[in-house]
């Protein structure tokens, strides 16, 4: 077990500011406090080499969880072990085992060229010369960083910078990688490059990866296992297929156009109970749950009516996730 979090909880105490001038003056002397439960009783186990998509709406507690796993924040309650270490108490040792990218912030030295930053990281992590060279060469090549490796970080575009960030987080061969919104704001090409790279790192090096993102295509392509957090609590933990099964019932549909006008659409007994029909003139959409197979439904329909433009739709991950977030 590479990551083991049990009953992980983080509360923040927030000072509330009064309204208007009067409230402001009042809060100078006595401020009201409010406790926010950012993360509540989260249990998370990850095996070596797993890639888990950690998703949830803004403010759900994703970043807070990652900060606790990386030793940056102390949990209010619960216990964490990363590679067998308590990340807060053994922060320095833990730092050698993990890498992290926070998409909204930069870990690169703003005024140094990318190459110099890498060199600085080599010295900070005491990376052996041969490993360092191998990693830099491989990352530079795969992420196509050659053209901007000698530019100062502040002159890079977001896409260039993000590639450098991800490479920087992996130079010291961490066992665990935390990716907090690594694709935020990137164009399609860079997104694809980043995904390919993450996939490769996970597969070839067996790096355990926890990925948070709002881009569900990242999740669809990368994460076999998904953990959904909402209001600080884990709402779902399982495979993509299970997630779809659990939340996407009734999200399958068959749409078609009738060649002739009919008064009513009738389905056989066994199917009708699992289907809902939407109609707009000749355009019909039959929605059904996962106990009905689309092919059975189509066969039944074709036997009774003359159809064109048949369109089968499975549950979209967007819909599934929206369903989960709504809870």
């Amino acid at each position: 077990m590479v990551i083991q979090a049990t009953g992980l909880t983080k509360d923040y105490v927030i000072n509330l500011k009064g309204k208007g001038l009067k409230g402001m003056a009042k809060s100078l002397f006595k401020s009201e406090k409010k406790t926010v439960h950012a993360v509540q009783d989260v249990n998370l186990q990850m095996d070596e080499g797993e890639l888990v998509g950690y998703i949830g709406p803004n403010g759900a507690g994703k970043s807070t969880t990652i900060k606790m796993l990386s030793g940056i924040l102390a949990p209010t309650a619960g216990s964490v072990r990363v590679c067998g270490l308590d990340p807060q108490k053994r922060r320095i040792q833990n730092a050698m085992n993990i890498g992290a990218v926070f998409g909204q912030k930069t870990q690169l030295w703003w005024d140094l060229p990318v190459r110099e930053t890498f060199e600085l990281l080599r010295r900070m992590y005491n990376i052996p010369a041969d490993r360092y060279k191998k990693n830099v060469d491989e990352f530079m090549d795969f992420l196509d960083m050659g053209p901007f490796a000698d530019q100062a970080v502040r002159q890079l575009s977001l896409g260039q910078r993000m590639r450098a960030e991800i490479a920087a987080s992996l130079l010291h061969d961490p066992k665990v990688l935390f990716l907090d919104e690594p694709t935020i704001g990137l164009d399609v090409n860079v997104k694809v490059a980043v995904r390919e790279f993450v996939k490769k790192i996970n597969k070839e090096r067996g790096v355990t990866i926890l990925l948070t993102t709002h881009d569900l295509q990242d999740i669809e392509e990368l994460a076999k296992r998904i953990v959904v957090i909402n209001h600080g609590q884990v709402g779902f933990d399982g495979s993509q297929a299970e997630l779809a099964r659990k939340y996407a019932d009734g999200k399958h549909s068959v749409s078609f156009t009738l060649q002739q006008e009919v008064s009513d659409i009738l389905l056989p007994e066994g199917l009708a109970a699992h289907c809902t029909i939407q109609r707009e003139g000749r355009n019909v959409k039959v929605m059904h749950d996962s106990s009905v197979s689309s092919s059975d439904l189509i066969v039944a329909l074709v036997q009774r009516y003359r159809l064109t433009d048949i369109d089968i739709e499975g549950p979209q991950i967007e819909d599934v996730v929206m369903e989960v977030y709504r809870e």
Partner: protein, 269 residues
């Protein structure tokens, strides 16, 4: 041990490199400091036109005190960097990356601050030599031994200055903005370190207060050693006191940092 030092040496050199990246800003603010020294010189020259000594300081001594103390002050950082280095990272949340690295937070900032200080020391030292050309009254260290001990004393002063700045910077964890604290600290350190007026010129009771506080060890003590105001034996005692204060303030800064990291949240998602 060598491996551990290598980490911090890496930060030291990166910080030196970064300071050089902002050459223009560095030179302009440095020029500002030189102008400030010139204004202070003009004021003291006017004062000494009326009197020949004040509190045991004659005109050449005063010129030397002024220039040496200002140089020492500028070596430590005319831009108050140790403090900004820390509070800025806390306020904008970039401290997450500092805590992600396999280095101790305060030690790493010390290494970075030392990197900036080297650059400041070179320029402040050169400026002092320039002043010597125009003001023959400015005297060198009173002996080679005093000169060497002055450098040691300045190193100890740097540690105290850094620790005080670090403590003040770390308070940004609790305050939402430490701008007010920063200016207050700058004023207190400037006044009580003897960077503005020699402590010997203060009224008796104020001298008593200043003797007890650690701040005189930052500027006043090294400057007095440079000027040979104490014999070697007393100089060593003074340096011993400085080192003691440096240790106390350093440990305080480390303790505060440990406390901050354990209990405090991080800004910005």
């Amino acid at each position: 041990m060598r491996k551990m030092l290598e980490k911090y040496y890496a930060l030291f050199s990166a910080s030196l490199q970064q300071s050089m990246a902002y050459r223009f800003g560095f030179f302009t603010s440095f020029l500002g400091e030189v102008m400030k020294i010139c204004v202070m010189l003009a004021v003291w020259m006017a004062v000494y036109r009326q009197r020949s000594t004040i509190a045991g300081f004659d005109y050449p001594m005063m010129i030397t005190y002024l220039l040496v103390s200002q140089t020492v002050n500028n070596v430590y950082g005319f831009k108050n960097d140790a403090e900004r280095l820390i509070s800025k990272r806390i306020m904008d949340g970039s401290i997450v990356f500092d805590l992600l690295r396999p280095v101790r937070f305060v030690n790493a900032r010390l290494a970075e601050n030392a990197g900036q200080t080297i650059l400041q020391a070179v320029f402040s030292g050169l400026t002092l030599l320039c002043f010597k050309v125009f003001l023959p009254q400015l005297s060198g260290p009173s002996s080679i031994a005093h000169g060497a001990l002055f450098l040691v004393s300045m190193c100890a002063g740097f540690f105290i200055m850094f620790s005080v700045s670090a403590i003040s910077g770390l308070l940004a964890f609790w305050l939402m903005n430490n701008w007010g604290l920063r200016s207050a600290k700058a004023a207190i350190v400037n006044f009580f370190s003897g960077a503005l007026v020699p402590i010997a010129m203060m009224p008796g009771w104020m001298q008593g207060v200043m003797e007890v506080l650690p701040f005189k060890n930052i500027v006043y003590v090294p400057t007095m050693i440079y000027m040979g105001q104490h014999d070697i034996e007393e100089t060593l005692v003074r340096i011993g006191m400085q080192i003691l204060w440096a240790a106390v303030m350093w440990l305080l800064a480390k303790a505060l940092c440990g406390l901050a990291i354990r209990r405090v949240s991080i800004n910005g998602g």
